[in-house]
Amino acid sequence: MTVTGASLVEARGPLVHEIPRTARPDMLVPARVYADSELWTQISGDRSLAQLMNVATLPGVTGCVYGMPDMHEGYGFPVGGVAAMKADDGVVSPGGVGYDINCGVRLLISDLDAEPVRERVPALVHELSRSIPSGTGRGGRLLLGGADVDRVLVEGCHYLLERGFATAEDLEVTEAGGRFTRADPGCVSARAKQRGRDQLGTIGSGNHFVEVQAVEQIFDAGVAAALGLRPGCLAVLVHTGSRGLGHQVCTDYVRLMDAAMQRYGIVLPDRELACAPFRSPEGQQYFGAMCAAANFAWANRQVIAHRVREAFERFFGASGRLRLVYDVAHNMAKLEAHQGELLVVHRKGATRAFGPAHPETPPRYRSVGQPVFIPGSMGTASYVLVGTDQALGLSFGSACHGAGRAMSRHAAKRTKPGHEVRRELEARGIAVSCPSNAELAEEAPFAYKDVERVVDVVHRVGLASRVARLRPLGVVKG
């Protein structure tokens, strides 16, 4: 199937590859992938093209389905996949959002220069690892009673503003203000709430992290200034999502929709793409639950940011102030108007990348575009970009969400043991806190695509515009 997808491709330019709608009788729209030749070879090497073609069969899908340069195989949707369905007669698919609903990234920037405090970074990383549990450990997390869980699900970061864990300025630069108003906690199961009860303020495992970085290079001084980025300044990037609560929401609704599809006459090539018409009771229930889980995820990253700020203040006093640049989701389905039509845009491992002219770009960034973050692998650079107006026509206003895996976790562990990965990172001056060498090996830099190449494609295609490069100094891995 992988070979089939790759062999049918039509080049639409050096960075644009398209599998026509006619490639498979069940495809409703073409599948378009943005990649250079090396990334295309990597993308063609796993099942992601076949998965993207499967997405092109979903009822109500419109335009093209898109693969970002970091695309790799996932389950149902590929990771790095974007698809839009008509809200009135299309579907919503929990598998198109993924289990980690509103997994996302937020960037905090410091007034401090990184170099003078460089020697303190290992101790800072240790302090962060003590303050922010990866799982449901003892410190750091915010314990929630039943009513509090519902308030977080409804109010997201606004609940934390009231509790003193957020500032009004934070909410201004969080996607959707850190709260989806369509959230319905009544559509979130008791099981999901149980899983989330003691997980607010926790990183989780896998590729989630809190990373201390330095702004290493500025590509666009004007935009960087608008975002508050200075060469050499200290920064913190937080990557996590809705934890067990979101996982359970997806589990619940994949099952619900799996059972409902026959009633709606939906036949799919992959059961994990289970879906229901967006306007159906099942579709609306899922959307209410997904929005609630998204609010939980924003709150989770906000609590973590609060803990990071506390740690910085303990270390650096008043000069350790951290300002939020932006918080952006990369696993989400959002109702958006495109060319006058209301669409449910599914982004699975893809970031919204709206330009300056879009009304949902935060007022503070209307002159430059919405910030987009592309974290590299642990040990490689991360990038700050801004969305472009032309991306609306290229990808429904989407860009990629990271470097993208190139090697399985199993293969990564076989390639190099975790203690060697740790030693190599530390030899390069990157302090590491990770509870398990095995998990460290799984996330080794060589297991990922080349982030420089990925960002180059994003920039050259025009999905987003490159602003700054950030170098890792220390990482707390979940």
Partner: protein
């Protein structure tokens, strides 16, 4: 053969292949494989009293997914990872087992869910074979 599992290539997630003589053994092996992922190896010995776990599903494939997701839920919410299984009932729609497990200090967070992607559970002359992708 009481059960056998191996990891198949998958770029991002964990793809398990399971083989066993009976469906009951297959489900037990799936549970043990999940325990190894959650706890790492060597898996600590099970302790404490056995607990009854029961799952009902519309078909055999969904049963495997629901069974694993039930174990994920127990691990995360009760910090209890089942690793020994005595199957009481295992048919296409019901799995019921007494399980003993390992209590953990922190809730295992490695496995988010079992998925339907590429899912298969097939019966053949040698017994049962299944593929299931876990989101990690």
């Amino acid at each position: 053969m009481s059960g056998y599992s191996e990891l198949l290539a998958h770029t991002a997630e964990v793809m398990l292949r399971l083989r066993a003589t009976t469906l009951a053994d297959l489900l037990a092996e799936a549970g043990r494989a999940l325990g190894r992922l959650e706890l790492g190896e060597p898996v600590p010995p099970a302790a404490g009293e056995p607990r009854l776990i029961e799952v009902q599903s519309p078909d055999r494939e969904a049963l495997l997914v629901d069974w694993l997701n039930e174990l994920v839920y127990l691990a995360e919410t009760e910090r209890w990872v089942p690793v020994e299984f005595e199957m009481v009932t295992a048919n296409d729609t019901t799995a019921r087992a007494w399980a003993r497990g390992v209590v953990t200090d922190e809730a295992p967070a490695r496995v988010k869910a079992a998925t339907f992607h590429g899912l298969k559970v097939v019966a053949g002359p040698q017994g049962f074979e299944a593929d299931v992708v876990l989101d990690v």
